[in-house]
Symmetry: C2
Subunit: 306 residues, 2 copies
């Protein structure tokens, strides 16, 4: 499995019983990321049996309450559970002041190190990178400074074609590393065996774009082009087109248009306004433009293999 | 009905799914009070169908997360719902800075007035009073500055003995007000009809003491003497007597001893540590000393008539 996304909450603004605000847990290429952290996220993590120890990197899109009011509670609980591992928080400027003030007022011991990566740039930038995954920001258009996040697997190594390799007794196990990297094999007599005959192409890196909250903003299209999965907010339906504009949110139709322009493989929608009782209306509206659309719901899991 | 207490959450420290931290909703003598506001309180209010419009006064015992991390979300939601009514928040010093910083960082319009009543005194003081109810602090002993709250009905008016009054044609409806206040009736000829013959004694004012979090602290006994209902925290059982001491919490036995010394009518216990699976153990331990003990659980209602 290369990507697994778990929806912990997908409703907008005012939490209700059984309607948790935005939070998602992403596993991609053996890395784990918590994306947004609305009130109650720690309860949702427990409910969906996601181990707290997996959470080392938390990404917050913007500082509206329904996207981060659960962060302080989660950090506080980490402390009570005697966490030692460093935590990285990637969020708009201001997050550090808030969290430190709250920890300080509770006289909380600084149980474990927290590194705050405060984001300020209006341009897309890489905010996380290791040998498995790159994460870069997707600047969005909302009432306050907001970023989506693009998670991309690093290119993988080529796979060995063992059947073909075994034809050459001179190729030893210690040569495999170079073969995986794409190098040709050179025999002692100078003869070259092309890498392509000894290996298969690696699996295509998988990518996930998280875009919430935002008005209809086609400027993001080049950044999210061809991603395997796009989450795009759909607070409203087209019947509230004007309200979407005023509040700088998107309708289901607008999200679908973005997915269509960016030629993504699959669109996942959420961040529904509480005024709509039937979530299927979101699906229907989006599918008039983009067929490969799915609804978020609490506990939903999306798995993508490559 | 004179008092109705609804338990919204009663577990300690680390919220879990189906284990919300401390919050209670109290109706007493036609006044409504929210007591503590752990993470998820707004969801619990919705779940138990408590109208947000009833919440005008919120009391926060102390600034540990499990007692106030739900406050900012609740205030934020009030704003989104376009609340106009003033909100009063009674909490330890520091609460105003936190709430204003959080509202400010979200660029939240100041939708409705909030009056912060910051508490600093180490002595019991009256922090709310109107014609129906008095609320005063109960200074507790915890790791940070903490108050319990004592809610007392104001003395009620005497009740008219209509059967007796009707024997006197000279007593008119306009005299009833004075009779309820306890005044005698003086006939035109100067003859005095004693108030006691025309009225019944009023119902005894009901009182509720909320005490969380605290170490075993018998100093509070005079303040809570004879209350109709005492909520006292019981984070631990006696098997963790020493841990209770270190963390400045109480065992079930200690809570029961306080109830016994204060001769309260009923003891309600809660704020259970997650380490105990069977809550009945708390009840059993407390009842060895104080029989009239009940367990808190989410959604529990206690009604006291007078």
């Amino acid at each position: 499995m290369s990507l697994k996304l778990t929806i912990l909450g997908c409703h907008s603004a005012t939490p209700r019983s059984f309607a948790f605000p935005t939070s998602q847990f992403l596993e991609i290429n053996n890395r784990y990321f918590l994306i947004d952290c609305g009130e109650g996220t720690q309860m949702q993590l427990r409910k969906h049996k996601i181990k707290f120890s997996k959470i080392k990197h938390i990404f917050i899109s913007h500082l509206h309450g329904d996207h981060f009011y659960g962060l302080i509670g989660l950090i506080s609980t980490f402390g009570l559970l005697n966490r030692q591992t460093e935590l990285h928080v990637y969020a708009p400027k201001g997050i550090k002041e808030i969290i430190l003030l709250l920890l300080n007022i509770s006289h909380s011991r600084k149980f474990f190190p927290i590194e705050f990566h405060e984001i300020e740039s209006k341009n897309s930038e890489i905010i996380f990178e290791d040998k498995n995954v790159i994460v870069q920001t997707i600047p969005l258009k909302h009432r306050i400074y907001t970023n989506g996040f693009l998670f991309i697997e690093k290119p993988k190594e080529k796979k060995l074609n063992i059947k073909e390799i075994e034809k050459y007794s001179e190729i030893e196990i210690c040569d495999y590393h170079n073969l995986k990297k794409g190098k040709d094999f050179i025999k002692e007599n100078g003869e070259i065996i092309k890498n392509n005959t000894l290996t298969f192409e690696p699996a295509k890196p998988i990518s996930y774009a998280f875009c919430s909250d935002t008005a209809y903003f086609p400027k993001i299209v080049p950044l999210i082009k061809n991603v395997d999965l796009l989450y795009h907010e759909t607070t409203f339906l087209e019947d509230n087109h004007e309200l979407a504009k005023t509040t700088q949110h998107s309708t289901a139709l607008q999200a679908a248009k973005i997915a269509q322009k960016a030629e993504v493989k699959k669109l996942l929608i959420g961040h529904y306004s509480g005024r709509y009782k039937n979530k299927d209306d979101f699906l229907q509206e989006a599918q008039t433009v983009f067929k490969e659309t799915e609804l978020s719901f609490e506990g939903k899991e999306i798995i993508i293999e490559n």
